[in-house]
């Protein structure tokens, strides 16, 4: 069973259109949704979570169709949105009381132990916390009701590297349970490269790539050659090239790079290359 199945998802905002997104996240895997600002990552996640209404397509989570009253599905989803989302006058204890009554599997001990681990003062009101702490609070909430699926929309955006590293570590711990899955969107590719099993590239509302990370890394490589040498490789196999006075650096499909000296490509490099070519 797949954790998430999206087929033909469309949403039209006039100038922006999310166009036929097909995406599958198997159970127990982590998928990173990468795209530049305004690519459609948040829109995809909002559609997935039924925050906004889709124009077309189907969304299934844990094999069930996602609808407005699918409360049983939502009970198993932990959500962290790109902005902290609790009323500012509430304290941690208030949030605990509220969530206790909302989620059937809420675990207050887990919540408070996470707060302690994150070094968040329980008595402080939400508005008194820093941005990083607010995000950590949101993550604590998402992790405290035995969710099977975490959907995270740019959870590390605006955070310093130390906190980002800490959070990534927490997600690793989450996925130790083989049934737990994560869908995480970010434009900080380095975080995702460490974490994810699957990578999806979104650009201007279109899904450019969606594949296993390892397969992507195996599928593409970087070569250094001359322009003439590059010309010998069919254009379809050249993802991106960068010419300089020292020669050409190109990202190509590995099978087309026989005879060339190759080096591994990073996800970030691949992402930038794909985006540039798409433009």
């Amino acid at each position: 069973m797949n954790a998430i199945e999206i087929k033909g998802l469309c949403k039209n905002y006039g100038r922006f259109r999310l166009d036929n997104i097909d995406l599958t996240l198997p159970c127990g895997c982590i998928m990173g949704l990468i795209g530049e600002n305004g690519a459609g990552k948040s829109t995809t996640i909002k559609l997935l979570l039924d925050i906004i209404k889709k124009d077309a397509g189907k969304i299934h989570i844990f094999g069930k169709e996602m609808t407005s009253d699918a409360t049983d599905i939502k009970n198993d989803i932990g959500v962290v949105l790109d902005e902290p989302c609790f009323p500012e006058l509430l304290k941690a204890s208030d949030i605990n009381s509220i969530m206790e009554k909302i989620y059937t599997k809420w675990n207050g001990e887990t919540f408070f132990s996470l707060l302690k681990r994150f070094d968040i003062d329980e008595k402080k009101r939400f508005k008194s916390l820093s941005k990083g702490m607010k995000m950590k609070m949101s993550i604590a909430v998402a992790l405290s009701h035995n969710a099977k699926l975490l959907i995270l929309d740019e959870p590390t955006s605006g955070l310093d590297p130390v906190i980002r590293d800490e959070i990534v570590e927490i997600f690793y711990e989450f996925t130790r349970n083989p049934m737990n899955s994560i869908l995480i969107s970010s434009h900080i590719v380095s975080d995702l490269e460490k974490l994810c099993d699957y990578i999806a590239f979104i650009h201007k509302g279109r899904l450019l790539l969606c594949d296993e990370k390892d397969r992507l890394l195996e599928k593409y490589c970087v070569i250094h050659c001359t322009a003439d040498e590059l010309a010998e490789i069919p254009e379809d196999n050249v993802i991106h090239k960068k010419e300089s006075s020292y020669g050409v650096e190109a990202i190509v499909k590995r099978y087309a790079a026989d005879g060339f000296e190759t080096s591994p490509v990073g996800i970030e490099e691949l992402f930038v290359a794909v985006i540039k070519e798409a433009k």
Binding site: K46, I51, T67, D69, P87
Partner: protein
């Protein structure tokens, strides 16, 4: 949904702690206004709903809450529940502040009449309906719109709501509204119920707005919304139809009652029905123990107006019917009602004499039924000018029909104006007593008489008429049986004021009549003594004792008061003072006093000559000259 409600109330408690200050402010404002202004506070209160949405949107809760395991119905309901709570809190605050302010106003002004339970009930229902309707429009807009668009668009219904609230509460004082609710007591509750139905429809609409997917879910709520709309429409149409009919019926009744002043009736049954229209409306509506407020609600509902300076007095639109309520000083509850109808002008009879009026009076006698009385009015074509009715504390009914006749040439004397009055008392079924009074014009000369009668009646005529009225009304066996407190209430109704030096002494408004009460050790009236000063001392240049004696030679002891008054008319004499007393042993005494200032009396200089004529039980008993 519990979690959502908890979140809403926790935020509400933390952001609405100023409500206590708000409640206090509303109360203070209401103490210095009619209380209606404080209703604006309700508008401010529910305007907080928009700010609550803004807070949720700003912090991201609106989006986040959609990811929680809650249905759109639960999310919407939580908002509606907390909004309803705010609504009821605001209305409760308004009622409390009104109660406190009204109690304060009552304590500083005895004329202030606080609202009764029925008024509070109708006002509360209207508040609920208005505010529920406002929220029914407001909340779906909040769910549909976002950001500044929401703030701008929802400002319009907020302003309309505040304006409509103030106007609506003002309309509650309207007579036609009072007609409606006095006849359809369930009307305010129905209006409130319709408000709640609209509230429910609004909730359905908000759920539909909030639902992004799941057509069957939407369809379910669409059907429910349509059903509720239909129900609200049916209830509203039925209620409106009943209301229109009630107002129309009352207008017809009121028109009829106003026309009673013009007695063109031929049939005794019509007369009787019209009397009953006046009295049935009152006598059956009122009973001992009602408060002024309860009476006022009924009377205003019948189209009568309450006197603003004296809330115990009411009058019809035509001014022909006046109603005075008497209440107990301690409990404020009704003890008696007095209804007075001025129907027709006095009938003018040419060349009338005493016999004319006496013969007229012979047609009425004690013990005759009221039906027969009305038939007699019709046969004689004479109709009462005034009808008054008093319902006493022991539910005893007393009704007085006053027939008035005037003549210009009384007993054949030119310019001799007289007013003849027959007062017929009944207990609602039979005639219990008949009294008559004759008031003469003691005119001093043709020229003077001509002058005064051409423009206004002479001071003496007016004084004599008033004396006669007050004598009839004050010094009689009915009043002697009253307690001092009851009697003084009656005096106050005739605009008598209490003396500051002597609590048992009262003055008329023009200061010319004084009334004093004598009570025994058990605080029971033993004597009512009244003195009326209307005439002026007459000046004579020169006269002797014989001259003065000759003036009064035709006034002899033993003559009846009627003859005495006739003689005064013939001799053109005018008393300066009339004193009257009535004792608890039924003794009635009247003294006429005549004063003269003689410049040269018996050649000995200035002197004052006073003649007093005592009349006891209708006969002259003593004549004294000093």
């Amino acid at each position: 949904m519990k979690g959502l409600l908890l979140k809403e109330f926790q935020v509400w408690l933390r952001t609405r702690s100023y409500f206590l200050i708000y409640l206090l402010a509303m109360t203070v404002v209401a103490c210095y206004t009619s209380g209606r202004v404080s209703a604006v506070g309700l508008g401010v209160l529910v305007g907080q709903i928009a700010s609550a949405f803004l807070v949720d949107e700003k912090c991201g809760w609106l989006s986040y809450s959609k990811t929680l395991p809650c249905t759109p119905f639960q999310r919407v309901s939580a908002k509606y529940i907390v909004t309803s709570f705010e609504l009821f809190f605001g209305i409760a605050a308004y009622i409390i502040s009104s109660f406190v302010s009204q109690s304060y106003l009552k304590s500083v002004s005895s004329y202030f009449s606080p609202p009764g339970p029925f008024e509070i009930y109708s006002e509360t229902c209207i508040l609920i309906a208005f505010t529920a309707l406002y929220i029914a429009v407001y909340l779906p807009l909040c769910f549909k719109l976002t950001g500044s668009k929401r703030t701008f668009v929802t400002l319009i219904p907020s302003l309309i709501y505040i304006f409509a609230l103030i106007m609506g509460l003002t309309v509650l004082n309207n007579g036609e509204w009072n007609i409606l609710i006095s006849n359809i007591k369930w009307l305010p509750a129905v209006i409130a119920a319709v408000g709640f139905i609209l509230f429910g429809i609004s909730l359905m609409i908000s759920v539909i707005i909030e639902t992004n997917s799941g057509d069957s879910y939407k369809n379910k709520f669409k059907k429910a919304a349509i059903l509720l709309c239909a129900l609200a429409a049916v209830i509203s149409i039925l209620t409106a139809a009943i209301a229109v009919k009630t107002v129309g019926t009352h207008k017809t009744q009121k028109e009829e009652s106003d026309n009673l002043g013009y007695f063109m009736l031929r049939d005794v049954d019509e007369i009787k029905d019209d009397y009953n229209n006046i009295y049935t409306n009152f006598c059956n509506e009122f009973h001992v123990g009602m408060t002024v407020q309860q009476c006022a609600e009924r009377l205003v509902g019948m189209g009568y107006f309450q006197n603003q300076t004296n809330p115990e007095k009411f009058y019809s639109e035509s001014g022909k019917v006046n109603i005075n309520l008497t209440t107990d000083d301690e409990t404020g509850k009704l003890t008696s009602t007095y209804v007075y109808c001025n129907l027709v002008e006095e009938k003018d009879i040419k060349n009338a004499t005493y016999e004319t009026f006496s013969n007229l009076k012979e047609n009425f006698h004690e013990g005759m039924s009221e039906d027969k009385l009305h038939l007699t009015f019709n046969q004689l074509e004479v109709f009462p000018c005034d009808i008054s009715e008093r319902l006493f504390f022991d539910d005893q009914l007393k009704r007085h029909y006053t027939l008035k006749f005037s003549t210009d040439e009384f007993n054949g004397s030119p310019n001799n104006h007289a007013l003849f009055r027959i007062i017929i008392a009944t207990d609602g079924e039979t005639v219990t007593s008949i009294e008559d009074t004759t008031i003469h014009n003691y005119g001093k000369g043709d020229e003077e008489t001509t002058e005064t009668t051409e423009t206004t009646e002479s001071h003496l005529e007016k004084g004599n008429r008033e004396m006669s009225e007050f004598i009839t009304n004050l010094c009689n066996e009915n009043n002697i049986k009253k307690t001092p407190r009851e009697f003084t209430k009656k005096l106050k109704k005739y605009d008598y004021t209490e003396s500051e030096e002597n609590y048992d002494l009262y003055y008329s408004a023009d200061g010319k009549v004084t009334v004093s009460l004598v009570t025994d050790s058990n605080d029971k009236l033993t004597e009512i003594l009244a003195v009326a000063n209307y005439g002026e001392t007459k000046y004579i240049e020169s006269a002797s004792e014989e001259d003065m004696t000759a003036i009064f030679k035709e006034i002899v002891t033993g003559m009846t008061e009627t003859s005495f008054q006739q003689k005064l008319s013939e001799l053109d004499l005018c008393p300066d003072t009339i004193k009257e007393s009535f004792t608890d042993n039924g003794k009635h005494r009247r003294t006429y006093e005549f004063r003269y200032r003689i410049e040269d009396y018996n050649g000995n200089g200035t002197a004052t000559y006073t003649v007093t004529v005592d009349i006891t039980d209708g006969k002259v008993t003593d004549i004294t000259a000093l």
